[in-house]
């Protein structure tokens, strides 16, 4: 039985494909985008999130941890990740809610059972199930089996991918995927490397190849002032996608509501380099796509 680490199964998800959906968020991603609003999705295994501001240093977790992984010394709490097996006891017994667990191992049937609970809503809204992350396609064996079972149940499927995976993975998923939500972050490869940690070559190459085997691709483009909030980026994207099977473009304006998550992960959020694009700019970008005959939308 295939297993994968999933950090959230979000019901009544309405911005990740058509209708009322359930989105399954997988853990692990080849990219490390600076603005990632699910930073807990980047690392492939289960993690403990710790909010230092909420912590009262009461010592309960230190006492309760069966692995003795937590230490409080000099008003500083540390978790020895080598010892911690993410059993979650410290989360349950933290009165302050300073500790959270991100990620849980699921079998395909576990996930299927959970997402089928909302089947009636998919049917009434022409919705379905979206696989997102992280990057779902790094779990291709799991994803392929899950997608196939969803299609056996007549459920509409969407796969939200960054494209930075082997084309074979995309191909295996494509057979059971009704719509790809394909992310394009930066057309400029140097900047792509700088802001996401990877070159965009594979991503763009894969987009072309997916278009050859799949009819329904929605482009999803985060727009971040300071990263890609320039017309040049839009113009280059439009040039690139000419002739591809792009059925819709979603322009997603940057927001910083995920900021607090970085702190809990012990990561730095470089928000001085990023800001929200103006409404006028978003509107203009949208029109640029529309003028070329694309269906475009601001937001998911």
């Amino acid at each position: 039985m295939n297993r994968a680490n999933i950090f959230n199964i979000q019901k009544f998800s309405v911005h990740d494909g058509p209708g009322i959906r359930t989105t399954v968020f997988f853990k692990g991603c080849p990219l490390k985008c600076l603005w990632c609003h699910n930073p807990e999705s980047q690392y492939i295994n289960t993690q403990i999130l710790y909010d230092r501001d909420k912590c009262a240093l009461c010592g309960t977790c230190e006492k309760i941890c069966p692995k003795k992984a937590i230490k409080i010394e000099n008003s500083l709490l540390t978790t020895d990740e080598a010892k911690c097996d993410c059993c979650g006891q410290c989360v349950i017994y933290c009165i302050q809610g300073a500790r959270q667990i991100a990620g849980k191992e699921y079998t395909v049937d576990d996930v299927l059972k959970e997402v089928l609970k909302d089947r009636v809503f998919y049917e009434k809204s022409s919705g379905g199930v979206t696989l997102s992350g992280g990057e779902p396609l790094i779990h291709i064996d799991f994803v392929e089996e899950l997608l196939k079972k969803l299609k056996d149940n007549n459920i509409h499927t969407a796969v939200d991918t960054c494209g930075a995976v082997s084309f074979d993975n995309l191909k295996r998923a494509a057979e059971y995927t009704d719509v790809f939500l394909y992310d394009i972050k930066l057309m400029d490869d140097e900047k792509h490397l700088e802001f996401t940690g990877m070159s965009n070559k594979l991503i763009l190459e894969n987009l072309k190849k997916v278009s050859e085997i799949h009819k329904n691709i929605n482009l999803r483009m985060p727009i971040i002032e300071g990263v890609n909030g320039d017309e040049e980026h839009i113009i280059k994207t439009i040039e690139f996608i000419e002739g591809l099977n792009i059925s819709k473009v979603n322009l997603l304006p940057y927001h910083d509501i995920a900021k607090h998550k970085y702190k809990k992960l012990g990561k730095v959020y470089e928000d001085d380099r990023m800001s929200k694009p103006s409404d006028e700019k978003m509107q203009k970008f949208k029109e640029m796509f529309e003028n070329k005959g694309y269906k475009a939308k601001i937001g998911g």
């Binding site: 979000q10 019901k11 009544f12 998800s13 309405v14 911005h15 209708g19 009322i20 309960t60 349950i92 017994y93 933290c94 009165i95 809610g97 609970k117 909302d118 009636v120 809503f121 049917e123 009434k124 809204s125 919705g127």
Partner: protein
């Protein structure tokens, strides 16, 4: 200013800006009548003559610009009192005059009249006096402890809805039918023929009463027309007189006369005895449409005219606040709302086909424009209802003031069929004031009071002892510290539950008899199928169907309490029963860890999690089966519904902390909604959990869902909310309603009430001005889980 025309703008403004006040006109007329006539005739005849006396002598009112006429008292926002039911003390009058919420102005002279004329006659004679002196000590203890409430303490059975009868027949014809029924009485073989005769004569007299009222209005309008200098208004007054010449004596011929007919009947019913509890027009779009269609074809009406007239009727409802309540009865349901309710859409009751028609849309447009507390309005959504109608209703609903609510036609019909009604009658089914279901015009469905189910659990946890009144009021079901298993606890709870329900029903049976004997409603009986046929009163089991409801409050709270004990004490063994009881006693102060565990790390109802939802089902089935189908004294049967009005606030206020982490005195859950903050999996999970109970075995359930505006915006928002409703109804959910306001707006409104005078929120089966709500209820609405998008 809101209003489709200048006329309705002006009328609406008057309705919303007038301070409610009390008038003793009705009380004085009635007292005078009783002094002269009590003891001379049989009780039903006395009541009918009293009603006629009121309709003959009360002041008439035609406001400037009005097209539909008739008021419950002397004018807009003036309320009558009903000393035969509850004779307010002078102190009560001072309270209602001075209290901050739901206040009614009472002039000083009226307090003197009350003390010198009204009270001396009615003291110890009102039904309230009769009821309170007939109750057992057990009942009084439970009542004082807030185990249940009693609807009829200050009011009469009501909550009923009109069908189509009086659109096809006038009161002359009703009277003729009654005379025939009297002729057919068999005094040789029928040993209650005499009682029937008195009842039927009373019904005939009440027909006269309403016809006299109509004639008086015709004459009054003509008199005003004679003096009127504005030729347009003169013509309107003559037009009103012409309508009142036709109705209520004869059946209406036009759309306007049909509206006027309804309104005369409404005033008649609410003057006679239905003090508080709503008389409603039911499926008005179905009944009006033939008139509208005919006139439209003849070219005598268009959308514009029909819409203006509908708004005139709408304002009439808002002119009639519910008469003032006092004491616990006010706490149960603190509102001016009289619970009149429209049921639009659904199916055509004659054919079972889709019922949405032009008038259905006129009603939606009127509701949207008027944005008034009263009438409460809802739509019925059937599988056959076009998406266009549903989307239009959702579009209004998401504006955030709580109307319309959504009801499931197929489920309503199934409820009624399950309760033994015929399909023909069930198609005339719908809700009345709140979510309770009945066959309109054919059924007396009487709400008898709310049952505080979470407090029954509290009693069980204290071996029958109530910590609020410091008394042993339940049965001793054992010390919970001695329970070896969850099953033992559950068994103790169900024993306690049965005991409390028996105390309530014993009281109900006495109260029902008091009303049957002393307070018949002959006018209501004319309009209810079965009464004429059996010669029995509406309040004595005369209707074709008779249902007595007990309203179950707090299913969410009790489910989470049981889940908490089962999970934490008996399964995970995180703490002992003794530790839990100590934490509850301390209101969780100093028990932070235990509080954290029960509040944040325990399965809860409302998450589509079978662990908690199965417990909900156990409780639901048990409560239902103890009540449902039991015989009431006048031939009816008992049934449950799951609605709170605002009683969940009162019930919470008389309770200690709960095993689910709820703090003492905080509200328990409303309707079938999950506990605040417990539903962390979003609206689809809430809906799934709620749909697990068999709604069709109840008489109605209430589900509140709150959304932030941003989460349901745009065309896709309309689609998604429509789909949520369709999905819930596909799973046979009964009712769902929405509050669409963000938390920050509500918090700001609490701080700056003057800036939010127009803010209306959905409370329970009705909406109210946010400013009219006491702080605890405001807090409760703010705390209801805000369902949002990620």
């Amino acid at each position: 200013m809101r209003g489709y025309t200048e006329r309705t703008k002006m009328l609406r403004q008057e309705s919303v800006s007038t301070q409610p006040r009390v008038s003793l006109e009705r009380a004085l007329l009635e007292t005078e009548f009783y002094k002269n006539n009590f003891g001379t005739v049989e009780i039903p005849v006395l009541r009918a003559m009293n009603f006629k006396y009121l309709m003959e002598n009360r002041k008439l009112y035609i406001g400037e610009g009005e097209l539909i006429v008739g008021e419950k008292s002397e004018g807009p926002q003036v309320v009558p009192t009903f000393p035969e039911l509850c004779a307010h003390t002078v102190e009560d009058m001072t309270v209602m005059n001075e209290r901050k919420f739901i206040n009614f102005k009472v002039i000083e002279e009226d307090k003197i009249v009350q003390a010198e004329t009204i009270l001396p006659y009615w003291q110890n004679k009102s039904t309230r006096d009769k009821i309170l002196s007939s109750m057992t000590q057990e009942w009084k203890d439970c009542y004082a402890a807030g185990m249940f409430t009693e609807f009829m303490e200050q009011r009469a059975p009501g909550h009923t809805v009109a069908d189509d009868k009086f659109y096809h027949k006038g009161f002359l014809e009703f009277k003729k039918e009654i005379a025939e029924a009297i002729d057919e009485l068999d005094f040789l073989n029928d040993n209650v023929a005499y009682d029937k005769k008195a009842q039927l004569e009373a019904m005939a007299i009440s027909c006269d009463a309403i016809m006299i009222y109509g004639q008086r209005y015709a004459a009054y309008a003509r008199g005003l027309a004679e003096k009127e200098t504005n030729p347009q208004r003169k013509e309107e007054l003559l037009w009103i007189a012409g309508n009142c010449d036709v109705v209520p004596a004869n059946k209406p011929e036009t759309y306007a006369q049909a509206l006027q007919m309804y309104w005369f009947v409404h005033i008649g019913i609410t003057t006679e005895l239905n003090t508080w509890d709503a008389f409603s027009p039911g499926k008005l779009d179905q009944y009006l449409y033939p008139f509208y269609k005919k006139e439209k074809e003849e070219g005598t009406i268009d959308y514009h005219k029909a819409r203006e007239l509908m708004e005139c009727l709408w304002i009439k409802f808002n002119n009639q606040p519910a008469p003032p309540k006092v004491g616990i009865t006010l706490k149960e349901s603190g509102t001016y709302t009289d619970f009149a309710n429209f049921n639009s859409g659904g199916i055509d009751p004659y054919t079972g086909d889709d019922g949405v028609n032009d008038v259905s849309y006129i009603i939606l447009d009127t509701m949207d424009e008027m944005r008034l507390l009263q009438p409460s309005s809802n739509v019925q959504i059937s599988e056959k209802t076009p998406d266009e109608f549903l989307r239009r209703a959702v579009e209004i609903s998401r504006k955030g003031w709580g109307q319309p609510a959504f009801y499931n036609t197929e489920e309503l019909i199934q409820e009624l069929l399950n309760a033994g009604k015929t399909l023909e009658d069930a198609r005339f089914g719908g809700s009345s004031g709140c979510v309770e279901t009945g066959c309109h015009g054919r059924e007396a469905y009487v709400l008898t009071g709310y049952l505080n189910v979470p407090k029954i659990f509290e009693l069980t946890m204290n071996n029958g002892f109530d910590k609020y009144t410091n008394k042993l009021i339940g049965i001793q079901t054992g010390n919970p510290e001695d329970f070896k298993s969850y099953e033992e606890l559950e068994a103790a709870l169900f024993n306690q539950l049965e005991y409390i329900i028996n105390v309530k029903i014993r009281g109900n049976n006495v109260i029902e008899k008091i009303f049957a004997e002393h307070m018949p409603s002959p006018f209501m009986s004319v309009l209810t199928t079965g009464c004429k046929e059996t010669g029995k009163d509406y309040n004595a089991g005369g209707a074709k169907y008779n249902t007595r409801y007990i309203q179950i409050v707090g299913i969410g709270t009790i489910t989470d309490c049981l889940a908490s004990v089962k999970y934490n004490v008996f399964e995970q063994r995180r703490f002992t029963m003794k530790e839990l009881l100590a934490a509850i006693d301390a209101n969780f102060e100093g028990h932070d860890m235990l509080h954290n565990l029960v509040l944040n790390h325990t399965p809860k109802y409302g998450n589509d999690d079978d662990y908690a939802d199965d417990i909900m089902l156990d409780v639901f089935k048990n409560v239902r089966d103890v009540i449902r189908g039991r015989k009431a004294v006048c031939g009816g049967t008992y049934q449950i519904d799951m609605l709170p009005t605002t009683c969940h606030i009162y019930f919470g206020s008389v309770m200690t902390a709960s095993a689910n982490g709820r703090l003492k005195e905080k509200p328990v859950t409303d309707g079938i909604s999950p506990e605040k903050g417990a539903d962390t999996n979003g609206p689809t999970a809430v809906i799934k959990s709620c749909a697990k109970m068999d709604h069709t075995s109840t008489g109605g359930t209430l589900l509140n869902q709150k959304f932030t505006p941003s989460s349901i915006s745009g065309e896709e928002g309309l689609d998604n909310v429509s789909a949520l409703i369709r999905a819930y109804f596909h799973m046979m959910g009964h009712h769902i309603q929405f509050n669409v306001i963000d938390k920050s707006t509500l918090l700001d409104a609490q701080k700056n009430p003057d800036e939010y005078k127009d803010l209306i929120v959905r409370v329970a089966g009705y909406s109210d001005h946010f400013n009219n709500l006491e702080k605890a209820l405001q807090d409760e609405i703010i705390d209801r889980t805000e369902q949002s998008f990620n």
